[in-house]
Amino acid sequence: MFPPIPNPSVSPEAAKPRFGEKDILRRSASEVTPPAERLTEVAKLIDVSKCIGCKACQSACLEWNNLHEEIGFNHGVYTNPMDLTPDTFTLMRFTEWVNPETDNLEWLIRKDGCMHCEDPGCLKACPSPGAIVQYSNGIVDFQHENCIGCGYCIKGCPFNIPRISKVDHTAYKCTLCSDRVAVGQGPACQKACPTQAIVFGTKQEMKDWADFRIKDLKSRGFENAGLYDPQGVGGTHVMYVLHHADQPSIYANLPDNPRISPIVDAWKGVTKYVGLAAMGFAAAAGLLHYVVAGPNRVTAEDEENAQKLTEGKGPPSAPPPASPSGPAGHEGRAT
């Protein structure tokens, strides 16, 4: 058994957060000076092979965070609600998978939710300074007072996690219970998980624990058991132990090789710079041209010619020879 974290203390002294602004590693749409010393990285490890799909994590999450999800309908599956929502930060996704090698049914149940990427796509995409922060322990947290509800985080996320609330138009996702972690507790889902399919600790401990679990799984014939800590996003602070780590996508479309979409990269990277440059160039070119060439003014001669033309006092000069082909096309029809 992974040793349980002691019960929370109710004393105001113990309730003071032990990390905060000074520990911000990244801040959306802002330059920050990273803290001199990085906190020990934390991680939540979700052992899919131990998960019984009881949804205690969903329940504990709703309770701890005082979320009010709507009562939905049955859609012919055990998953409920059908997707993450602004009030459902975590969701059990059920997949009935017949293992082609053994022909046995396997009920793959994955707890979906924020992965707390080391390189968070949401944070990268976010245009609003400080709406998304990443603490140096790895927790990626949304700061709702700074969120503008644009939904860029949704596009930035390789795991399709954040959801925008229809009520306050800000983005919601798992906070890794930053309020609990800050006082030395684990996330509410982790505490509730009946079978310790969710454990929480330092990232290194979680990797060690995962090794222990993977050994057990291999001994039971799951040769491809392994840890899901995708390096495409720099690793995550929510990791999975999978019995079939060679094919993550069988677990309700867990991305095989998640990374921030190249399109998002292009958008937040080259487009931003090239775009700004292009606009700056256009403006500068105009300015330069004006300075060099001066304004294009109508001359008195032009006015006279116009007067002549209108007054019918003799035809002004014929169209210049630059139009050699003579009447043609529309002009042809117009004359």
Partner: protein
């Protein structure tokens, strides 16, 4: 609340030889408090704890009820949160999806808050005082018991039973309540006395 007796001795043992989580690491060295505004305040601060047992199945998980207000000081207590008791040997702080949502059953919109009566033929409940309700019940019991009590059977054997009334006892009340219930019901001679054990 005997919390001082709670020892966390089982934390010393961990099945796989991993020497316990380095809990201190979550605090990350420096003790100085960070800017609180960034992290949502921990909403259990300054609440009162009570050790309780989950009301659902017989795993009997230990729970902690966190309330605003202290019953022991004679105050009203409003439950703000319930979570597993990590000191409990069976559940080690974990809870199932029902246990994790216990606060919402205590505070369910369909909790009963006052005695009600539905009169014969009526299509609704209407309020009744406790006194009136209990008197009605006691009189109905006496009336029925006096009318239908079987003191002896056809062979003249004293049997002292009351068969026209029945009582279904709860499955989540305490032993103490159950014992009080047993005494009251059995003393009347009621035999149609049963509980959830069969289902």
């Amino acid at each position: 609340m005997n919390m001082e007796l709670s020892r966390r001795s089982f934390l010393k043992t961990s099945g796989a030889g991993i020497a316990g989580t380095t809990l201190g690491a979550f605090g990350f060295g420096e003790a100085e408090a960070a800017v609180a505004a960034f992290i949502k305040p921990f909403h259990l601060a300054n609440t009162t704890e009570a050790r309780n047992t989950c009301t659902y199945c017989s795993v009997a998980c230990g729970i902690i009820i966190f309330s605003k207000g202290d019953l022991r000081k004679g105050e009203k207590a409003d439950i703000v949160h319930i979570e597993g008791d990590a000191d409990h040997p069976t559940n080690r702080g974990t809870l199932c999806p029902k246990g994790a949502a216990l606060r919402d059953i205590v505070k369910s919109e369909t909790r009963l808050t006052q005695p009600m009566v539905r009169k014969p033929g009526s299509d609704r409940f209407e309020p009744i005082s406790w006194d009136a309700a209990l008197d009605k019940i006691a009189h109905a019991m006496k009336h029925d018991r006096d009318a239908n009590f079987v003191a002896t059977n056809k062979d003249g054997v004293t049997v002292n039973r009351w068969l026209t009334a029945g009582f279904l006892a709860a499955s989540a009340t305490t032993n103490e309540t159950a014992f009080a219930t047993y005494k009251v019901v059995r003393s009347t001679g009621m035999l149609g006395f049963d509980n959830q054990a069969r289902v």
